[in-house]
Structure formats: structure tokens, C-alpha cells
Symmetry: D3
């Protein structure tokens, strides 16, 4: 038991949260990650193409995917993270602010590098997230 | 000119922002405020009613309105506010975090007091917002 | 009391409406106005730009904002206004028809003048709306 | 040719409209009709049931369908009908106003009669619509 | 009675289905058909135009309509059709797969022929659908 | 190289697909899995609760999550899988049909067992999916 708590210092926090939280408690940064991968791939494919019709579609499809990535990040920030997490990881607010702004940057830019920057910020968030959960579920790693 | 800048210390920031921002630059906390008013009114009307059908509808309609208020707040936080604003108003991240969490609380609760708490937090955000803009537009005040 | 009624001739109508209306009663033409401002600003920024990627994004983002303005106008027309309003303001149906058609025109056109025409029609609607309410709330004018 | 025009007095109007209309020109009141049928059927099934879980789902699913019916009606009113139609059918504005208000009434009420009232108003609109088109397409009648 | 059953071999199935189905039972391939008509018309109008602004709008509006056609087809496939239908029409899965893929093809292509191919597949589905229902309702054919 | 192909027999198919596919190529059954987890958890929490307000919210929130799971499954079926996959896994159409129908069942039922059944079907799909990809990406397993 103590071992489990050592692995997951937020275990108690979450039990507390469970009492005041009405809903399902299912959060996973994979949702933002998958949309951000689309953003990145679309930008790369558009860059490699010289078909103006394809490039037009890439522009608005990238916009939609970046908006979804942004939404998933906002939900994580507001709904999953609790004050004790912010005490432990004081960079959280700024990190989410930069990550959601990076979604906007990836809309505004046709450069795949902006998609990569977004992926990197989501990976930073994921690392913290999985630490607070004590590890990934089996269906991801298995 | 100097007088205008005195009234709006963010004037220069915004001019800078205009160069890197692709989009329309139209932000207004009234969007979140109006949805939060619905949240509050729905909770009050549901509390005053003893019609179970009405109360059921109130529950899911309040949920929708609170989600829209949350969305408008997220957009303001990520898209409107820039680092110099956060330097001037260091409470911004925490204020938006509490306000978006208050949207969740107003979903989870049937108590109109949670709607009022949300309205109060939006008013705090609005006050800062309009200071950074140097005042409200004529169509609001006129 | 009579003074208040003089200021707001629809006061009684609304009390009646409150009995048959299930929901929140919160309406505000500011919602349509803010989206229409975006439509107008996007058209102006696109006109001033010669970046084809920016102009493409402007086209579909303007479309989205015009659709939202249209939706907010439709809701006002159907849900807020009642037969006694139409008796007092017989131009209401035609005014809303022209305003929602102006949303379509602002989609079809890249000319900022179409955004301005939409803003003007929304201001005409707003003037009538606030007369029926007896004035704007403090959070707008204050 | 004159025969065709006799069958469809709006034929010329539509040709004109085609020049200023950017988009597809495909309108069909069947879209509103199908959603309104759902509204009606859901109300009937909920009335016949005494399962509270089923009745709860019926309430919010009816709400969604009524919103879609309303949206399809608004689109027809604003986007399909043109001033010459209103000259020919001066009841159009009021008819659409009552039909979209009937969508709201069908949300507020658990009574299937409100769904039937909505269906009747959509049938009135459909009759006018198909007159202006000169008849239904083969894929509907065939 | 036997005559009716001869006309509609699925009559019994549907009665059974009605017992386990919670919801409204209203399905109509007209929903997919109408969106697919838009897809086809938009592609034709874009092909005939040499206005780049119009063509841009056509690209993303066609995308939206094709997505709606796809959604309506998915709903029919999953929610309306039952195992006995698939026994009677073993081509159903593949037909829906090709029809929903045709929605994707009509997004990817500016060629109106892809819209026509989608319309043809929807007509194949409609023919089966109306056979399982024993014919179209009066409001369509009347 | 031959080893890689042995591990992923679809490698060539995908290269071919890449030539005719306009878009990003990012698919991941985790999207459906995460929504289905919510469906399951919501049903469990509602079952354990005797707060009618909480149970009402659970009903419509579960409905939304099940709809999202369904959508993600439909997209995988139509957009990711290609004819050679169906040759290799002839059960695919029926598996997706049962999985998307299981989303509907999980809406209709308050029993967590229906959420579990959905999770099991998604796991069956995931197993096939990851075989066709030659394994999961590092960000999932790492």
C-alpha cells in the first residue's frame, strides 16, 4: 500500500476528488496527442504537395484538428488537475497556456514545426499527468 | 495620444499582437456573462418549480449553457491575454482556472448560488479585461 | 410603478410570457453583435492582406462567425419576441429576415461593407430589443 | 415553355436567384419534416412508457430533434425564400414564426399533440415550398 | 394481412425491433440523399466558376455536406438495419462501406462525378430501405 | 526490410493508400476506447448513487460519450480500413456493426455491463488495428 502511494503521490487527492466530482473521472492526454499528430501530419503533407485543392483542404482540416487538441487540453487543465497538483507542479498553468496557444499557432502557420512544438508541449503535460496517475493503463502499454 | 496610452497601458502590446495574430481580434467577456446568466436563471427557475419534467429540462439546459460559458472563458484566457497582461495581473491564470471550474460546479449543482459564484468570477475577469482595453465600446454603454 | 411601465411598455407581456416559457429568459443582442464584429474585422484584415494562406483562413473563419451571428438572430426572433412586440413593431419579421440574409451575404462576399451592413441591421434590432426591455443591464453600461 | 412556367411561377425568380446565390440551391422541407416526426414519435413513446429512465432519455432526445427541426426551418425561411415568394405568399413570415415557435413548444411539452401541431405547420410550409418549385423530385415520389 | 406481409417481409421484424428499441424509430434515407445532392451541386457550381473565392467556399462547404451525408448513412447502417435485413440483403455491409467511403471521395475530389457516384450508392441503399418498410410515406409521394 | 513486412503485412497496402488518401493518416482506436471508458464509469457511478439529480446528469452525459465512441468507431471503419484488411479479417464489418450497436445499447441501458460489452468489442477492434499497423507507437507504450 505504502509502495503504491510512493508510486502515486496523488492517490489520496484523487480519492478526495472522487467525493466532490460528479462525473466519470476518465481523463487521458492521448486525446490531445492524437489530434496534435493530425495537425502535424496535415502540415507535412500540405508542405509536400503542390495541389492547391489539397492544400486548401489541409488548411481547414488542420484548423479543426487544432481546435480539438485545444479543447482536450482545456478540459484536462480545468477538470482533471486540482490545487495539490499545482502545488507539486507549479509550472502547470503556464504550461497549459503555452500548449493551448501552440494550438492557435499551429492554425495560423503552415509550417509543420508548429505542429511539432505542440506535440512537444503535450508530451510535457502527459509526463506530469501520468506521474499523478501512477502510470499508464494496460490497454495503452500492453 | 499619450493620454490614450495612459488610459490603456496595453495599447502597444495590442498593436504588437496585431502583427502576429491572424484573426479578428474581437473578444468580449459579455459572451461568457450572458451564458452564465442563463445558468443562474435556469437554476433559480428549477428551484422554484415542482414540475419534474421542467426540472429535467433545466438540468440538461443548464449543462449546455455552463459548457458555453466555460468555452468562452477558455478562449479569452488562451487567445486574448498575452504575457504582459499576466505580468500586470499575476492572478489571471488562477482566476480563469477558478472561473472555468465554477462552470463545472454549476453543472454539478442545482443550487443557484453556484451560478452566482460563476457570475462574480466573470465580473472579476471582465473588470481586468476592460482595463486592458481602455474601456467598453459605445454599443455596450450607449 | 406606473413610471417603470411607461419606460417599459412590454413589462406586462413579459410577466405573462414568463408563465408559459419554461426556460431562462436571458436574451441579449450582444451575442449576434459580437459575432458580426468578427465577420467585419475578418473581412477587413483579409482585404488588407496579400498572404493567400491568411486569406483562405479568413474565408472559412468568417463563414463560421456569420453562421453564429445568424443563429443568435434566429433565436432572438423565434424565442424572445412575442405577438404584442410584432404589433408594436410591425417591421420585426422583415428586419430579422434582412438581417439573417445579411449574414448569408457576408459569407458570400469578401467585401467588409457587407459586414458593416450586417452590423447596422443588428443595431436596428438591438434598439427595438432594449426598448422592449426598458434599458440595458448595469453590467453592460457600467 | 409557357406550360412549364404556368406550373412553376417562380421559375424565373429562381434563375435570377441562381446568379447571386453562391451555394448549392438544394433545399427540401423533408429535413424539417423528418426531425419533427421524431419529435412526435418520441413524445408518443414516452407517454406510453412508465420507465423513468426511458422517459428521461426521451426528454433530451426530443429536445435535440426539435432543435434540428427548428434549424432546418430557419434555413428554409432565410436562405430559400426570396421577396417575390413573400409577395405571392404574404403569410410566409408569420407561418415560419409559428412553426419555429412550435418547435419550442414541443420541447417544453411532453404532450404528443404539440409534435402533431408542428408536423401540421411543416406540411403547410411544404405545400407552399413545392408550389414554388413546380413539384417534387422523382426520387421522392417514385 | 398476408398480403401486407408479402409486400413487407420485414413487418414482423420491425414489430420485434420496436420492443427492444428505446427511441423514435424514424429513419429516412432522404436525409443522406439531400446532403449528397448538395455535395453534387456544389461540385458542379465550383467547376463552372472561375472565381477563386467562390471555389474556396465551395471546397469547405462541400466537405461539411459530405460529412453530414456520411453521418446519416452511418446512422441508418448501425441503428435502423437489423440482422434479418442483412440475411435478406447480404450486400448491406459492403454497400454502406462503399457509400460512406464515397462521401470521403467526394471530399477529396473536386469532380462532380464523385458526387454522382455517391448519389447512385444512396439510391441503391434507399431502394433496399423502402423495400424493408413496404413503401414510402404519403408525405413523400403525395 | 522483409522482417518489417513480416511484422506488418499491411505495410504495402498503406503505402498504396497514402497515394490516394488526401488526409493525415492518423487513426487510433484509443479515441473510441477513452469515450467507452467514460460510458462504463458513468454507468457504474450512477448505479452506486441514489441522488436523482446526479443520476439524471449521468443519463445524458453517458449518451454524449456513447455517441462520441460510436463516431470514432465509424471513422475507423470507413476511413482507416481498406479492402485488403477486410480480406484478411473477414469479421471486420460485423465486428464494427456490433460495436457501434453496442454504443446504442449502452445509451439505452443504465447497466454498466453494457459499457463493459462495448469496451470488449473495442478491444477486439484494437487488436486487429494494431496488427495492421505493426504495433503501437512509443508514446503509448513508453
Amino acid at each position: 500500500m505504502r509502495l503504491l502511494q510512493a508510486l502515486n503521490p496523488f492517490r489520496d487527492i484523487e480519492t478526495v476528488a472522487a467525493h466532490c466530482d460528479l462525473m466519470c473521472g476518465v481523463y487521458n492526454p492521448a486525446q490531445a496527442r492524437i489530434e496534435a499528430e493530425s495537425v502535424h501530419e496535415i502540415a507535412k503533407k500540405a508542405q509536400d504537395s503542390d495541389d492547391p485543392y489539397f492544400k486548401q483542404r489541409a488548411t481547414f482540416l488542420k484548423e479543426e484538428r487544432a481546435e480539438l487538441a485545444k479543447h482536450h487540453l482545456w478540459v484536462l487543465w480545468t477538470d482533471y488537475f486540482k490545487p495539490p497538483h499545482v502545488e507539486e507542479y507549479p509550472q502547470l498553468h503556464d504550461l497549459f497556456w503555452r500548449a493551448t496557444k501552440a494550438c492557435g499557432d499551429a492554425k495560423k502557420s503552415a509550417d509543420p514545426a508548429d505542429g511539432q512544438k505542440l506535440l512537444d508541449l503535450i508530451d510535457e503535460i502527459s509526463e506530469i499527468f501520468w506521474k499523478t496517475k501512477g502510470g499508464k493503463p494496460d490497454w495503452m502499454t500492453g
